[in-house]
């Protein structure tokens, strides 16, 4: 057991760092996610696609890199360090793995290249107004009519669905069996007649998620992935994939660095805030939590590398990871003091250009705090994650 990187790993880090430095697009550098156009969002993904690095975790035959767990760790560290806008998980970590694991050859040929090269934008249609934590209680139906599925229902919390070319939807195809056993996984082109995407505005004022209304949406029967009524199995598989990386360790590390920078710039009683022992202690406590989380994640990665499948312990990563992320935003609000108050979206001057009230780092502090409350709710709320550990790990 040791913590050292091999000379190969160190060389790999240099290679990755140099690549990011030379190729990350200037026009999205330092930008906030919500300021990006669809094209800007996809630009880094497309560059990575050309390089062959857009889907590191996939099997090599579909475009994966074959990196070791250590190399993947270095990869995410370096991207966090450079603050890159990474490819969205919906394509790369969710529908992609479902398609290459359960899809037909035709599905693989048709859909995987667009995910690898970053030309197709995918969104997720899982949650419904009445089916959140109880996802299997979903009501959207898909009824077979000749060569087509006819889909009716309403999905919600569809992240960035406003940009999507395709969506993957869980639909009820058999209402007469146990609720988990009558669900199918169906792909829908978002410009199909009857698909309507409506924005949901969040407490931070942003438009990140949507409702998706489906009214008599007709799609070819071939858009079913895998077997009919096996969608729940695929959804669980996909959610387990979503979990890897959900701890967000590398990003939180970068977040702590940024918080320290803010606290060094902000003044408290004529001295940098970072010299206030109370505040310095709070940052340290958070960093200690993050170190524990990092090593928990590394232990998990080592186990996976040794051939063990990712287990329900990944719920721990979700719980602690989101707690750290949320705490980071709390401390940022504390650090910026009075300038947490101005609302940059509501500022009428200068045609919506840069918001000039207070220091730049203060503008997103409160919106970010509000926005990050979602992390303990989405992807299976932290209460559900604790239930999973209670049941599957502790055997309660």
């Amino acid at each position: 057991m040791n913590l050292d990187f091999s000379p190969e790993d160190i060389a790999f880090r240099e290679e990755v760092r140099a690549f990011i430095e030379e190729n990350y697009p200037e026009d999205i550098k330092g930008k906030h996610r919500e300021e990006l156009t669809k094209e800007q969002f996809l630009s880094w993904h497309q560059i990575l696609g050309k390089k062959g690095w857009s889907v590191p975790s996939w099997p090599t035959q579909y475009g994966g890199t074959g990196w070791t767990p250590t190399q993947k760790y270095i990869w995410s560290e370096e991207n966090a360090r450079a603050d890159t806008i990474m490819p969205l998980p919906f394509a790369v970590s969710m529908v992609g793995p479902v398609i290459y694991t359960f899809g037909s050859q035709e599905h693989k040929d048709r859909f995987l290249p667009g995910i690898v090269d970053g030309t197709t934008w995918w969104c997720q249609g899982f949650s419904e107004p009445g089916a959140g934590s109880d996802l299997a209680g979903l009501k959207t139906t898909a009824v077979r009519d000749g060569d087509e599925w006819v889909i009716n229902g309403q999905k919600t919390w569809t992240t960035l669905g406003q940009h999507a070319d395709w969506g993957f939807f869980l639909c009820r195809t058999n209402p007469d069996v146990k609720k988990q056993e009558g669900i199918s996984f169906i792909l829908v082109k978002m410009d199909t007649p009857g698909v309507e995407v409506r924005p949901i505005i969040m407490t931070d004022g942003g438009h990140e998620v949507n409702e998706v209304w489906l009214t008599d949406v007709r799609v070819p029967v071939d858009n079913l992935v895998g077997e009919e009524n096996k969608g729940w199995t695929y959804a669980k598989f996909l959610l387990a994939h979503e979990r890897t990386g959900i701890a967000g360790v590398a990003r939180s590390k970068r977040g702590i660095e940024r918080l320290r920078e803010i606290a060094s710039t902000e003044y408290d009683n004529g001295k940098p805030l970072i010299e206030n022992p109370d505040f310095a202690e709070k940052i340290s406590k958070l960093e200690i939590d993050l170190t524990a989380l990092e090593f928990t994640e590394l232990r998990g990665l080592a186990a996976v590398a040794a051939g063990k499948p990712p287990g329900p312990e990944s719920s721990l990563l979700k719980i602690k990871g989101t707690e750290v992320q949320q705490r980071l935003t709390e401390l940022t609000i504390e650090a910026v003091g009075n300038y947490a108050a101005p609302y940059f979206r509501g500022f009428p001057e200068e045609g919506g250009n840069r918001f000039p009230i207070g220091p730049d780092y203060a503008h997103h502090a409160l919106p970010e705090y509000l926005n990050m409350r979602k992390t303990s709710i989405y992807g299976g709320s932290n209460e559900i994650q604790r239930n999973i550990i209670a049941k599957a790990v502790l055997g309660l």
């Binding site: 949650s127 009445g130 089916a131 959140g132 934590s133 109880d134 209680g137 919600t156 919390w157 949901i200 505005i201 969040m202 407490t203 004022g205 998620v209 902000e266 003044y267 408290d268 009683n269 004529g270 805030l273 206030n276 109370d278 505040f279 709390e330 609000i333 504390e334 003091g337 009075n338 300038y339 947490a340 108050a341 101005p342 609302y343 509501g346 500022f347 009428p348 001057e349 000039p356 009230i357 207070g358 409160l366 919106p367 705090y369 509000l370 926005n371 409350r373 979602k374 303990s376 709710i377 989405y378 709320s381 932290n382 209460e383 604790r386």
Partner: protein, 385 residues
């Protein structure tokens, strides 16, 4: 000991609560917030008519002879309705300065019309790098004959876009962090040399960055004695803390009530989520935090007129309680509401935002914990000597 309200105070509560219910419904409120001015002067006139702008002032000053308990009653209702009109800036802070230290002429010229609603005040004290320290004042007031000339910048001045007059802290002598040498001036907002940049705040108010460039004010417009305003500023800010603590209690009440309602109605796994013990316990903790906050709000309200050390400790202790409880309740309420909690579609998010920014107003938990500790230490040291 008596924790009951007077008949007048009960009347204020009832009529204010009715007025807010009738004319401050959620839809109307949001329309007003999105409008260019962001408030309703006609609502302010109705508050004046109701008497709440004159409630906490002595009859001698033209008020109704009430006290901080009246303010508490008003602010709790404001908190329930998330009323944005500038009661704290104009009545509690502006009126507070004039009540405690205004000259006869100042009371006549500013306090009386403030109670009538014609003069609206805002208090400009924080600066870009002062954080919460009231003695960190770099804005200067240079004597020029019998006048003073103001120069400097004030940050996040709540209610300034709606104000007719500003009360400004400025240094007439001493160095940046000196306790002495700070003076207060009341100036018309349209005085030559004052410019502002107005903006909305995350919690629905309006605020300004205010720039003073060679603003000439008369010595008659100084509130209190030259160079000794800091104790007065501390006192009035403590009164502001009592007021926004009551507001926070009102906001917590709604956040908790909405959460209970939601948890009872929302079904998952075929049962209301309120039946899950883990959520029940969290809602119990939310209730406990709200109760403790209310108790601390009573505590500070009833101690505002006591000796300086007692008042300061009471205010800081309350602000710590309110900051922690507001955060807990806001976060727990959001979590129990699930995805709906992070949307703008429910009113909950607006209560959460207000509770969050109440913590930064007049100093956050850390600031007041330190202030309390310093005061408590001071008592220990004095006893030892």
């Amino acid at each position: 000991m008596d924790f009951s309200f007077t008949e007048e105070q009960n009347m204020i509560r009832d009529s204010l609560s009715r007025l807010i219910k009738d004319q401050y419904d959620w839809e109307t409120r949001n329309k007003v917030l999105a409008s260019e001015s962001g408030w309703r002067p006609e609502m302010w006139a109705q508050f004046a008519e109701l008497g709440i702008l004159m409630a906490p002032f002595s009859e001698e000053d033209g008020g109704l002879g009430g006290n901080a308990v009246d303010v508490m009653v008003v602010m709790e209702e404001f908190g329930k309705g998330l009323v944005v009109e500038p009661y704290v800036p104009s009545v509690v802070l502006g009126g507070g300065f004039l009540k405690h230290a205004g000259s006869t002429a100042q009371k006549e010229n500013f306090l009386a019309p403030m109670m009538g609603g014609e003069v609206v005040l805002a208090f400009a004290y924080a600066e870009p790098t002062s954080r919460f320290n009231l003695n960190d004042v770099t804005t200067t007031a240079r004597a020029n004959g019998s006048n003073y000339v103001l120069n400097g910048q004030k940050s996040v001045v709540l209610g300034a876009p709606w104000a007719t007059h500003l009360i400004v802290s400025a240094r007439t002598s001493g160095d940046r962090f000196d306790d002495s040498g700070i003076s207060l001036f009341i100036v018309p907002k349209d005085a030559a040399g004052i410019s502002t940049r107005d903006y909305p705040t995350m919690d629905g108010y309006r605020a300004s960055e205010v720039y003073f460039e060679n603003v000439e004010v008369s010595g008659d417009d100084m509130i209190g004695a030259e160079g000794s305003a800091l104790p007065l500023i501390e006192k009035v800010c403590d009164e502001g803390i009592a007021a926004i603590s009551a507001e926070a209690c009102g906001a917590m009440e709604i956040a908790n009530a909405d959460t209970l309602d939601y948890a009872r109605q929302r079904k998952q796994f075929n049962v209301p989520i309120a039946s899950f013990q883990v959520l029940q316990h969290r809602m119990v903790d939310m209730f406990i935090e709200q109760q403790q906050s209310m108790s601390m709000t009573y505590q500070v309200t009833l101690r505002l007129e006591e000796d300086e050390a007692t008042r300061k400790k009471a205010a800081s202790a309350t602000k710590v309680q309110i900051g922690n409880s507001g955060r807990f309740i806001g976060q727990a309420a959001t979590q129990i509401h699930g995805g709906m909690g992070v949307t703008d579609e429910l009113r909950l998010g607006h209560y959460f935002k207000r509770l969050t920014l109440i913590d930064t107003q007049f100093g956050n938990v850390d600031y007041h914990l330190r202030r309390y500790a310093n005061l408590a230490e001071g008592v220990v040291k004095a006893a030892a000597e």
